[in-house]
């Protein structure tokens, strides 16, 4: 399964001529991308992230908000993304933070730009034993699948993170994104200078090399100020584990 996964993510993939980066560079201030008005980065409470104007288009259509409920009250809000037409990848702690008795997913939902996104049901789930990863099997199939795992981009390229942490002023759900550079990689953790908050857990950290939205990390945690926020780095071995998780979850559909 691991070999399959490696082959899949390796096919036709490069960051415009830059080969795999075994040890991502530590970025100096000069290497960082120019500040943009909408998403210049100050961690962890930087300026607002940018709206996603067309959540029904690629790559945003494959990103969704997860709500878990307890006795009819929302107990957890988080983010996930499609890694197969019927599989949502997210962080494991989304499922373990609080008690719940029900849960749903809304792909591409945005209270302003896509308020009609349907509520989706979860047929089964699987949690990684040690990494902060989990998969949810949906009862229906959808467009907007992200590829998993890739060589890290060069310093100047930066990455994008999109999720549901920053609602509209009236607190309705908003899909927003931020761009920023990677700051480090170690073991299975990737850190990046992108503003995040509660609700972003499970968000994809991705690029679009050669037109293919490809996730390199699953956002997991905010970090103390100035250290960069962090996610699970989708190395080839981790991608293989994800495919195993999908198999485990599928085996529970209908149970």
């Amino acid at each position: 399964m691991s070999e399959d996964a490696q082959g899949e993510v390796g096919r036709g993939f490069s960051w415009k001529g830059d080969g795999p980066v075994a040890h991502p560079p530590r970025l100096s201030a000069d290497d960082r991308p120019p500040k943009f008005e909408l998403f210049s980065v100050i961690l962890p409470h930087g300026p607002n992230r940018a709206d996603v104007p067309e959540p029904t288009q690629s790559p945003w259509e494959g990103i969704g908000t997860i709500n878990l409920f307890d006795h009819g009250a929302t107990s957890v809000v988080a983010t996930g993304f499609l890694c197969a037409p019927d599989v949502l990848l997210t962080a494991k702690h989304v499922l373990t933070t609080a008690s719940y008795d029900a849960g749903n997913v809304w792909l591409g939902f945005d209270a302003v730009h896509n308020p009609g996104a349907p509520m989706l049901s979860i047929a089964a789930y699987a949690e990684h034993n040690s990494l902060d990863l989990a998969v949810l099997i949906l009862t229906t199939q959808h467009q907007g699948v992200f590829a998993l795992g890739a060589p890290l981009p060069p310093a100047h390229a930066g990455v994008t993170l999109a999720g549901y942490a920053f609602p509209y002023p009236n607190t309705s759900a908003r899909l927003s994104y931020g761009n920023g550079p990677l700051t480090g990689a170690s073991g299975t953790q990737l850190t990046y200078l992108i503003d995040t908050e509660e609700g972003d857990s499970g968000a994809p950290v991705f690029g679009v090399p050669n037109g293919q939205p490809t996730v390199i990390a699953v956002h997991a945690e905010g970090a103390p100020k100035g250290q960069g926020n962090a996610g699970v780095w989708l190395t080839p071995a981790v991608v293989a584990d994800i495919h195993s998780l999908i198999a485990i979850a599928r085996s529970h559909v209908g149970h």
Partner: protein, 438 residues
């Protein structure tokens, strides 16, 4: 060491409290420095909340109005302490509106001399005192004015129990920049009470004591590595904003013991079956931030109050603290009884149902009064006719208000948004909107 002193005092609580009702050793009111306290209630996490995983846990609890003994004790201790003019409490309130089953996530108290225009000489942002970036968007969203002097800055983080049946709060940051009697050195014990008030319901809340706070030194409180608990936590208290008709048990529960994965599957993880759907009745998804200015018929008005009392680490001050916790334990037991005792749980449900029953009766009475006024009041243009219309419009309005109050007590939407105007005019003319359905 100081905590031991407090604990030791707790043992002899009732004796001390009864022997020194006015706590004469405390500083008199006249030593209080001028200043104003303001409360900032937030639906998002606290500015100094711990960094960590970013799944947004929302605060909601299903138990109604239990476990406020600490709050009552706080009030009594404050009353006793104030009898000799010895205690100067800092009190601040804020009104909010919440949808049922939601709670704010953070409450911040700031006491100082506010510079609302922001141009006074020497004024500073509060952020500059408390290790927060001045352009931090969460800070700026609170709209805290600059201050020419800061006394207190205290952040309380709210959280629910994992079974959603109780709430607690804990300080995540506290700064006593200047004591209430003007000291800029030394230490103080800081007693904090947080209270939630809803029309037609008992106040709920709890208290916490921060021992040995060094004046001028902000302190951030981190969760302990094991279990994520905090050193300073208020005793649990019941929810103040739960739906009255919350089911006693979930319709379906999560599969906590999923089947063993099929043989041959790599030992990567474990899985489970379907997660029940429709937990929010098909409404739009929620967000990580709770709306504290909710609108609409379901929104419940709630007043949040925080009271802070500062005492010196003297025996009189410790007596004050001790008296707060005097007798709490058995009372907590009482409050927790519905959680563990099925008979008590039934009593709790009965109480909830009683509120619903009262509401239903009041609603029916109001509808009857509305029908009588709208469809059966006199149409004569005589003195008797006018008196009849005044009597019946007045009765209808009163019944509407009583039904709305009963609805709030039962955590139900108000049934009458348009109240009848008391009038001598014909019902269909003077109150056409209210009479449409009658």
């Amino acid at each position: 060491m100081h905590h031991r002193n407090i604990a030791a005092m707790l043992v002899g609580t009732s004796l001390l409290a009864s022997c020194a009702p006015s706590l004469p050793g405390l500083r008199p009111l006249t030593y209080a420095t001028p200043g104003e306290a303001r409360l900032y209630v937030s639906g998002g996490r606290c500015l100094h909340g711990p960094a960590g995983n970013e799944a947004a846990g929302l605060v909601a609890a299903a138990l109604l109005e239990a476990g406020s003994q600490a709050l009552k004790n706080f009030g009594q201790a404050l009353k006793d302490g104030s009898q000799g003019g010895a205690l100067q409490p800092v009190v601040a309130t804020q009104n909010i509106q919440l949808l049922p089953d939601t709670s704010p996530k953070c409450v911040t108290l700031v006491r100082g001399s506010f510079d609302d225009k922001g141009n006074a000489k020497g004024s500073r942002t509060v952020a500059s005192y408390v290790d927060i970036g001045e352009d931090d968007k969460d800070f700026t969203s609170l709209n805290i004015p600059k201050v020419t002097a800061l006394d207190y800055y205290i952040e309380l983080q709210l959280a629910n129990s994992t079974n959603h049946k109780a709430l607690k709060f804990n300080p995540v940051y506290a700064l006593v920049e200047r004591s209430i009697d003007g000291d800029t050195k030394g230490t103080r014990d800081v007693s904090i009470a947080l209270k939630f008030s809803k029309i037609g319901a008992s106040d709920v809340g709890s208290t916490v004591v921060l021992g040995n706070q060094t004046i001028g030194a902000g302190k951030k409180f981190e969760p302990q590595a094991a279990g994520g608990r905090y050193i300073y936590e208020a005793p649990w208290f019941g929810a103040f904003n739960a739906k009255a008709n919350d089911p006693a048990s979930p319709t379906q529960t999560r599969d906590l013991n999923p089947p063993t994965p099929p043989t041959g599957t790599p030992p990567v993880g474990t899985g489970g079956g379907a997660i029940s759907s429709g937990g929010n009745n098909g409404q739009n998804p929620s967000t990580p931030v709770v709306d504290i200015a909710a609108k609409g018929n379901d929104a419940v008005p709630i007043t949040v109050s925080m009271t802070v009392v500062e005492t010196r680490p003297t025996k009189e001050g410790l007596a004050f603290i001790a008296s707060i916790f005097n007798g709490i334990e058995p009372q907590i037991e009482t409050a927790a009884k519905p959680l563990i005792d099925s008979k008590a749980a039934s009593a709790q449900e009965s109480s909830d149902l009683s509120a619903l029953s009262t509401f239903s009766t009041a609603q029916g009475t109001a509808q009857g009064a509305m029908f009588t006024y709208c469809s059966a009041s006199s149409t004569d243009d005589t003195l008797a006719g006018k008196q009849d219309r005044i009597t019946k419009s007045s009765a209808a309005r009163s019944a509407q208000i009583q039904a709305n109050v009963a609805a709030i007590a039962a955590s139900q939407p108000k049934p009458f948004l348009k109240l009848v105007n008391i009038s001598t005019g014909l019902a269909r003319t003077a109150n056409n909107d209210a009479c449409t359905q009658f």
